[in-house]
């Protein structure tokens, strides 16, 4: 019994054992296998893969070394884009803003989701409850953004009214530099916490009950068995959740585009929004591509480090 990521599961999946050939089909020869048929079956998917994943990756890297205003031809400029990026205060701002967003997001989301998952495990496992928690996740980012834009409105939003009733002060959630990023992170946490809780909940279901019995026989209380049994055995699931959350939140775009559009000033201009602006508003496609390559490298590095650090591919249950 194990929990692991998609990729590892796939890697671990044993190849289909060679089947016993008790008969010979016409046109089949052992050396070719099913290659002709297989090529036919994967042709459309392979076309999609090459045209819209592999080719654009190569082209994106190439473009990052060019200057290209979308019209005309790209001109090769070597590493000029990367050198310019290194001295671009807006890039460093975007990176910093994105990191703040990611940090708030993963902390809040993981803690809340873990809490909800533990609550479900303890008192209620009904599909109805799980469904209600999942509802925000199924909504488009745009809808979540508009909804919270309304709920958090400075003048007549219900949240600010509640804050005032409770004796607090109104908060300009989208309008203040201080709050722009935490607000984006809160919206995202709202949308994802139920989904993340369900992932963790599925992981909790995998922990055999006898381990808790053994722990309590050894005199462990609830808190101890949480830290000694639950948390260690959840590690692969938590690793997956962290990787997915970090990679996902580095790419925040929709909510920012619909609500603050990078503002006020540069307070919420996250990486992907900056890339979008460079490429499409300012027609600097080479520069935008270089930014995208950097974002890609950051994400790849994060995924690698996280999986290594969390030893996500191993489980203590084996």
């Amino acid at each position: 019994m194990s929990s692991s990521t998609l990729a590892e599961q796939a890697a671990r999946q044993p190849a289909v054992p060679p089947r016993q050939r008790r008969f010979t089909r016409p046109g089949w020869s052992p050396s070719r296998g099913d290659l002709p048929a297989a090529l036919l079956f994967i042709a459309p998917a392979l076309l999609g893969l090459s045209l819209f994943f592999l080719f654009p990756m190569l082209r994106g890297v190439y473009l990052s070394f060019t200057e290209y205003n979308i019209l005309g031809e790209p001109t090769w400029v070597g590493t000029a884009n990367y050198e310019a990026i290194a001295q671009d205060p807006l890039f460093w701002n975007a990176l910093w803003v994105t990191i703040q967003y990611v940090l708030i997001n993963i902390t809040l989301q993981t803690v809340l989701a873990l809490g909800i998952a533990l609550l479900m495990q303890r008192i209620a496992r009904s599909t109805l409850i799980r469904g209600m928690l999942l509802l925000p996740y199924l909504m488009a980012n745009v809808i979540a953004a508009l909804l919270w834009f309304w709920l958090l409105d400075y003048q007549i939003g219900i949240v600010n009214h509640l804050l005032e009733t409770l004796g607090g002060q109104r908060v300009a959630f989208f309008g203040s530099e201080q709050w722009a990023i935490p607000t984006q992170a809160l919206i995202n946490t709202w949308r994802h916490m139920g989904y993340t809780a369900l992932l963790i909940f599925a992981g909790l279901q995998m922990i055999p009950r006898h381990l808790y019995e053994a722990a309590s026989l050894d005199g462990a209380n609830a808190v101890q068995s949480f830290f000694r049994v639950t948390l260690p055995l959840l590690r692969p699931v938590l690793a997956l959740v962290l990787v997915v959350t970090v990679i996902g939140s580095f790419q925040v775009f929709d909510t920012v585009a619909v609500t603050t559009q990078g503002g006020p000033v540069n307070a919420s201009r996250v990486m992907q929004y900056y890339i979008f602006q460079k490429a499409f508003t300012e027609s600097q496609f080479g520069y935008g591509s270089a930014l995208a390559v950097i974002l890609f490298l950051i994400l790849a590095l994060m995924a690698f480090v996280q999986m290594k650090f969390m030893r996500g591919n191993q489980t203590d249950l084996d």
Partner: protein, 306 residues
């Protein structure tokens, strides 16, 4: 193969007696559910309110001056004067066109992606050929590539093909496969029994007949789940349609909503209209969720945990 494994503990179903120790956990869980669900009530409440009166009665739990004006506005059934009198911005939203575009975009990309991914998954799970694992790894690896990285070059490709602002250009990157769909279906096809397939082969059936008459019918449940998840995903897609489908005749609802919002003058947004449009845009997903909620919920365990 069921989507999620049954819980270990059979006692999970036995009714629990009331315990004081469970009061706080219940309060917390109900709070989490309230935070997830109540905002949707607020959409409904606002969309049924008169926009002009919202400011004076911001905390009313019921719609303020109950009326369907906001929906009429969204559907284009209200004259501009009427709209402005009710607190609308007078901005137009080509709602029916956007709705049609969303339906076409989500349906075609879902149908194509599920079908072609099923074909590929069949080749990866049921056929023996050299290079199979290498090619499959390539498919898996693309799951890690952030969409923004491929989006810029893909935009150029679609432009070079002359397909900007066409439905074909919008659908093309999704319609041939999604890496997740290939992976998802391969798992199911691997677990199907070989015997029927071999019997069919003895009867002289070729791969196409096996695929259409044995594999696909037997995988109806996972195919439906995948189609559901893909449809919701595509319905909610924003970035790609924003880049490629930004003219009115191919603009989808998510993009249209963003435009509608930015048309509201900064001083007094048409909140009722905006919430009515939001609600209608979410309606297809909400309906699917009412019908297939259990399927969707149970598929979550599959996406990460075995």
């Amino acid at each position: 193969m069921p989507l999620t494994r049954a819980p270990h503990r059979s006692y999970a179903r036995t009714p629990q007696r009331f315990r004081w120790a469970n009061v706080l956990p219940w309060i917390l869980l109900i709070l989490a559910i309230a935070v997830s669900v109540l905002p949707f009530y607020w959409i409904l409440r606002t969309s049924l309110s008169m926009n002009a009166s919202l400011a004076t009665n911001a905390t009313s739990l019921l719609p303020v001056d109950f009326n369907f004006g906001a929906f009429a506005r969204v559907f284009g059934l209200q004259s501009t004067q009427e709209a402005i009198a009710q607190g609308g911005s007078g901005a137009d939203i080509n709602f029916w066109v956007y709705l049609r575009n969303s339906v076409i975009f989500a349906s075609i990309s879902t149908a194509g992606a599920v079908f072609f991914s099923a074909m590929a998954a069949y080749a990866f799970a049921r056929l023996r050929w050299r290079g199979r694992n290498v090619v499959f790894s390539a498919f898996l690896a693309t799951m890690m590539v952030p969409p923004i990285f491929t989006a810029l070059p893909n935009f150029l490709l679609i432009r070079d093909l002359g397909l900007l602002n066409t439905m074909v250009g919008m659908v093309l990157p999704f319609v041939f496969m999604t890496p997740f769909a290939v992976f998802f279906l391969r798992q199911f096809f691997l677990s199907m029994s070989r015997e029927v397939e071999e019997a069919a082969m003895l009867d002289g059936a070729k791969h196409f007949r096996i695929f259409f008459q044995i594999i696909l019918p037997n995988a109806a449940a996972p195919l439906a789940t995948l189609a559901l998840l893909t449809f919701i995903q595509q319905w909610n897609e924003y970035f790609w349609p924003l880049l490629v489908g930004n003219s009115d005749d191919v603009r989808v609802l998510t993009v249209g909503l963003g435009v509608f919002k930015s048309q509201s003058p900064q001083g007094a947004p048409d909140w009722s209209g905006l919430m009515a449009a939001t609600l209608i845009s979410a309606l297809p997903v909400l309906t699917l969720f009412m019908i297939f909620g259990k399927k969707i919920v149970n598929s979550i365990g599959f996406s990460g945990v075995k």
